[in-house]
């Protein structure tokens, strides 16, 4: 099957011209480069941004039309309903937009170029940072819309911001690895939702409870347990994702 003939010469490789940076710092620099590249591509195409913002706006309008003008009395149940609606809006907007990072690489067929050039950890960290940045923006927009349109009153802004950050960390870690997994599959959206459900439900329940506590006035001590859970869950998911990512990336 294979024919082979031998050459007469061979030579040696010249030393590389370009110097290489220190290992750990350079890994972070590579991750930052992936993040900046993705951000630049996102700002020029606005695939994920449009999906996130439109979904958040639609959800806020729909909720405001449904319950915003009823004038719910500020009971524990009302706070829980508002927190649930806020996180439903955040969750579905996130599911709509956050898979784009890897899916777009696959659809644009740029994955091979990236795989040859970039260390897997740098790719994961870069995509994770982008998802986190998008979620921060989404959280800010959705919260603002809910405050204005649904008349949500935040009792403890600090606790509210911390719960929002903790929940976003959980969402970002889970959706980043899931996006990598589904990028090579058919029926990406359906698969993403199916895989995300069991991973995201536990932190979502806790985030809703924590947010409801944060909407109440004396909230920081009450939200502490939720914050601890969200912190631990996001760290566990992040570390597990880092360990798994190389296998997903090279599959």
């Amino acid at each position: 099957m294979a024919e082979q003939s031998k050459p007469e010469h061979s030579s040696e490789i010249e030393p590389q011209q370009f110097s290489l940076l220190d290992a750990q710092l350079s890994m972070l620099a590579a991750a930052w480069a992936v993040f900046i590249k993705d951000l630049r591509v996102e700002l020029r195409t606005r695939y994920a941004l449009n999906a996130l913002v439109l979904f958040a706006a639609c959800a806020a309008v729909a909720v405001s039309l449904g319950v915003g003008f009823i004038g719910l009395r500020r009971t524990d149940e009302a706070l829980l309903i508002q927190a649930t609606l806020l996180w439903i809006a955040l969750l579905f907007a996130a599911l709509n937009g956050l898979a784009r990072g890897f899916v777009q690489e696959e659809e644009a067929r740029t994955m091979a170029a990236l795989r040859l050039a970039a260390p897997p950890i740098a790719v994961f960290l870069g995509k994770f940072m982008l998802n986190l940045a998008l979620l921060a923006l989404l959280g800010a927009i959705t919260t603002l819309l809910f405050i204005v349109m649904v008349r949500v009153e935040v009792g403890s802004p600090l606790a509210f911001a911390l719960v929002l950050a903790g929940g976003s960390l959980c969402l970002a870690s889970a959706t980043t690895i899931l996006a990598a997994i589904i990028s090579k599959a058919s029926f990406k959206s359906a698969l993403f939702a199916v895989l995300a459900f069991p991973l995201l439900v536990p932190p979502l329940i806790v985030a809703i409870q924590g947010t409801a506590s944060a909407l109440d006035e004396a909230a920081l001590p009450a939200a502490l347990a939720s914050l601890q859970f969200l912190g631990a869950y996001s760290v566990a998911t992040f570390v597990a994702s880092l360990m798994l990512f190389r296998f997903v990336w090279e599959a």
Binding site: M1, A2, E3, Q4, S5, K6, P7, H9, S10, S11, E12, I13, E14, P15, Q16, Q17, F18, S19, L20, L21, D22, A23, S26, M27, A29, A30, W32, A33, V34, I36, K37, R40, V41, R44, T45, A108, R109, T110, A112, A113, L114, R115, L116, A117, A118, P119, A122, E250
Partner: protein
């Protein structure tokens, strides 16, 4: 004495030039139940050029993807031997430059932004002058600030060479190297191959008779 370097590590250190070898041992590939090729064995050293030829569907591109670590062989083993260390292709990205029709760069970015990005993730320090020189070398001088979406297929092919040569890899894998290129583009490829042959390994997948002459070794796949 030259400077010692670790191609796969991220630290610079110093020694003389390092000999590289490509070892392919009993490699086979298949798609589902259909075998594409089997039992391919060969060894290449720095300075040697392998041309892979064969009819459509004989597995030329697949063979190069195996060498690039983008696909795993169904049988056999591929390794890059650098000094005393052997590297699996999946861990040898720093050793490899790959040009292929299915290699896509970012259409939303300019050529310069693409090269800067790939230099950064390869953890190379490359200033604008070096990037300009590389673009000039592949015939894209003056077009570095255009987005790839505005590039013709020939220009995109030239940029693939800039991507592949960015880190001066000791192994260059070229799949259909002159596809979509004009005469001047083909001359660029000829110069790149000639330069690479002086210090590294070149593997070319082609059926173009003009490119068969590059080969010190010919691997014919299929019937």
């Amino acid at each position: 004495m030259g400077s010692r370097f670790s191609v796969l590590g991220s630290r610079c250190a110093t020694i003389g030039p390092v000999e590289i070898r490509l070892i392919v041992d009993g490699v086979g590939a298949s798609y589902g139940a259909r075998p594409v090729f089997s039992d391919v064995s060969l060894e290449l050293r720095a300075g040697e050029t392998l041309v892979v030829s064969g009819q459509n569907g004989s597995g030329k591109s697949t063979f190069l993807r195996l060498l690039a670590g983008l696909q795993r062989p169904d049988a056999g083993r591929i390794a890059y031997q650098l000094g005393n260390e052997a590297y699996d292709p999946r861990d040898a990205g720093r050793l490899l430059g790959w040009v292929a029709p299915d290699l896509m760069l970012y259409r939303e970015l300019t050529a310069r932004e693409n090269l800067r990005f790939f230099a950064a993730v390869r953890r190379l320090r490359l200033d604008d002058g070096a990037i300009d020189a590389l673009l000039e070398r592949v015939g894209l001088g003056g077009r570095g600030d255009d987005r790839l979406a505005a590039y013709s297929s020939g220009m995109a092919q030239r940029l693939r060479y800039a991507y592949a040569l960015l880190h001066r890899p000791p192994v260059l894998l070229l799949d259909e190297p002159t596809v979509t290129l004009d005469e001047r583009g083909a001359a660029v490829v000829e110069a790149v191959v000639a330069e690479q042959r002086r210090h590294g390994i070149v593997v070319i997948a082609t059926n173009d008779p003009r490119e068969l002459r590059y080969g010190d070794l010919i691997l014919r796949l299929g019937n």
